[in-house]
């Protein structure tokens, strides 16, 4: 079961198991996926914690993310520098949150970050418009987009500031029946 692996020390693997929802085998598999993205950049030996980051363009090409309309935002929300360059730690973190074992509250926090395009900690009308256009591949007319965004703010905004804060978002998403299954 991989006791002969030399990519990580045992302490590192145990630490990863404590910090994410993954098992040992899954973490090793994630490393091989990370390595596949750029074999000449990513070292096979992580025991001395090399400082290696992969750019956004390589990561959004992964089959799991390629079809997702929010792939850029997903990678950006998990990157330290906000530009989408992920180290292996952040890579594992991203998949840990997206995995099915992550609890609803954690997913809600990151979902808010993903949908917040201008990173101002509020979902304002422009954020909603961008989300909608990504979702429908811009098939809706501007009036329809306007209507949907207005209705969304009307439904979810509790404090009346015409934008959704994290509390509004969390309140709305906690009642959604499909949220946990789909994200």
């Amino acid at each position: 079961m991989g006791n002969k692996q030399t990519i990580f020390t045992d302490e590192q693997l145990d630490a990863y198991q404590d910090c994410t929802f993954f098992t040992r085998k899954e973490i090793l598999r994630l490393h091989s996926r990370y390595h596949e993205l750029a074999p000449h950049l990513v070292p096979m030996d992580y025991t001395n914690e090399p400082d290696c980051k992969l750019p956004l363009a390589l990561i959004v090409d992964m089959p799991e993310l390629k079809e997702n309309p929010f792939r850029n935002r997903i990678v950006e929300s998990f990157s330290e520098d906000g530009m989408g360059n992920l180290s292996f730690n952040e890579f594992v973190d991203m998949f840990s949150v997206l995995s099915e074992m992550a609890p609803r509250e954690l997913k809600a926090i990151y979902a808010f970050k993903i949908y917040d395009f201008n990173v101002d900690n509020y979902l304002c009308k422009e954020d909603l418009e961008k989300t909608l256009n990504r979702l429908t591949k811009e098939e809706l007319t501007p009036e329809e987009v306007e209507l949907v965004c207005e209705k969304t703010i009307e439904e979810a905004d509790l404090d009346g500031d015409n934008k959704l804060s994290y509390a509004d978002f969390e309140n709305m998403i906690s009642r959604a029946p499909d949220f946990l299954r789909y994200i």
Binding site: A15, T136, V148, D178
Partner: protein, 691 residues
Amino acid sequence: MIMMTTDIYALFSSSSSSSSSSDSDEESLSEGEIEALKEQVEEKKKLIATLRNKPWRMQKRLSLLKEAQEFVEKFEGALGKGKGRRLYAFKVMMTKKLIKFNRDFENFKTACIPWERKIKEVESHFGSSVASYFLFLRWMYGVNLVLFGFMFGLVVLPEVLMGLPYGSIPRKTVPREEQDTAMDFSVLLDFGGYCQYSILFYGFYNNDRTIGLLKFRLPLSYLLTSVGIFGYSLLVVIRTMARNANEGGDGGEEGDFIFSWKMFTSWDYLIGNPETADNKYASITTSFKESIVDEQENQKDENIHLRRFLRVFANFLILCSLGGSGYLIYFVVKRSQDFAKVDPKTLTWFEKNEVEFVMSLLGLVCPPLFETIAELEDYHPRIALKWQLGRIFALFLGNLYTFLFALFDEVTAKLETEKSIKNATEWAYQQYFANYSLFYNTTDVPPPNVAPADVIRGPCWETGVGREFVKLTVSDVQVTYLTILVGDFARAVIVRFLNYCWCWDLEAGFPSYGEFDISGNVLGLVFNQGMIWMGAFYAPGLVGINVLRLLTSMYYQSWAVMACNVPHERVFKASRSNNFYMGLLLLVLFLSLLPVVYSMMTLAPSFDCGPFSGQEKMYDVVIETIEQDLPAFIGNIFTYASNPGLIMPAILLMILAIYYLNTVSKAYQQTNIDLRKKMKMVSIGVVFVLF
């Protein structure tokens, strides 16, 4: 918290530097601070346990983890100073070992889950709704495996290992008349011949109270295992329902956040296939447009009377077809009873398998018929899907129960024949007795020396019923696999290869590739399981057959869906459908419990086959065990417990409890609504205050 830590660091360093001072000094320090320290350690431990749930950067988590682990290690050792140190250190070491063991066990368990990769592949191509069918199939496989374990280990294995072998007693031998055809393939396919007199069916089991060296009580075990199968299934279904209900969100009303939910939760993050993604985009757009139109138009009703008339008419048509199908099945089963009286060699294959054929045909033809009729009704697609599922459910249920009633008639007929055979056997025995005494002029008559194959046999209705269920299950499997082969695979091959030389585009127009019929397949699975539950009592081998069937289904259907199907055009789900199907399963469980319990309680067992032969009623075995094997006072307890005077108040109490819980739940829902209103009020109030 950091301040406290440094204080404690200081305290300990100061105490160690003044170690030369009296020991009591150190002791008083420990006693006073030890509680606070323990609390610290507990807090750090809790942090370590919940670290993965925190929305921090990985680097921060790793460094916090290291810090917390170092703290815990350092001070757990230190806390052990003084009394009970060794015990404390031992406890700590055991907890660490336990955590490690748990972690390894979790890793092992995840590695053991079968077909995970296959299901994930299906999920990424077809979305989570199709994958939910396969998850359901896998869950069913697990449940059936456990049921098989029960039946096999507690009933079949003891009989095979410790019971009498084939051919030793009449019930275990093929009768003389049937022996020359017993090995024929057609007879075996029909589950007659050697199949009928094997461990597959009820009739094989002997009614000895105890068998073998271990004095294993087979009849009791048979009865209790059959009941236990239902009990276990009930437990598992309800536990899964409760788990789904907890995860599926806590009952927000459908209409509360329509647009918000559509915007933030409609994308399926598990999609990895471009075709599926395109379909998903299209369906999201359509769904938004639908809601927009709904919002704008305010549901203007064109012609409410016409719509009502059409709906009533559609329901009438559907009731007619349901009634028609029920009558057809009854008619066919009656005919099969007539056929059974005729010599089997004169019947065609069709006439022999008419019942199963008709039932499968109805199951294939009626659902599309219902769908076409439902177009008259003009409902919202989600509501139409619910109606469709309900009607298919009613169809299957009606068919199954009609089949059961017809079967029941057959059973009563067999019981009548049994009486006459019993009389014949007794008469023959008396004849033998009289002849023997006359010939040898003695009253000490040994039992007749007849070969087991020649003994006059009763009709053994339980094996008959078991055979019917097994034949039904097998034909159901055949029809399903054939439908997939023809309806999906052949269709895909034709569309793909004929497209080169055909006038219109086969792939885009008619017939194009098939879509995976989730609801049809899930309902089929649910009803198959219902038949297994019903038939397991009469045919212990049926559960094993079902396990094989589910195993092959998994591989066959996952291959078929990947090779021949395209993702759905309209991707919508019957919301919270997981619990919907579980609810159906629960209903089917209860409905399949009824016939079995009824036959156990009312019908008399056959006099010469099965583990209950010779008893008045099947449950007499339990009463016998209580009277003979258990101490006297337990028998008294049972007598008291079965007194109607005790049962009626108990039932009354349960009804009152249900009523009370219902009222409390309604009160909670009302409080929920009130609190929500209050929340909105408060927010508006804040705005007012600001102004």
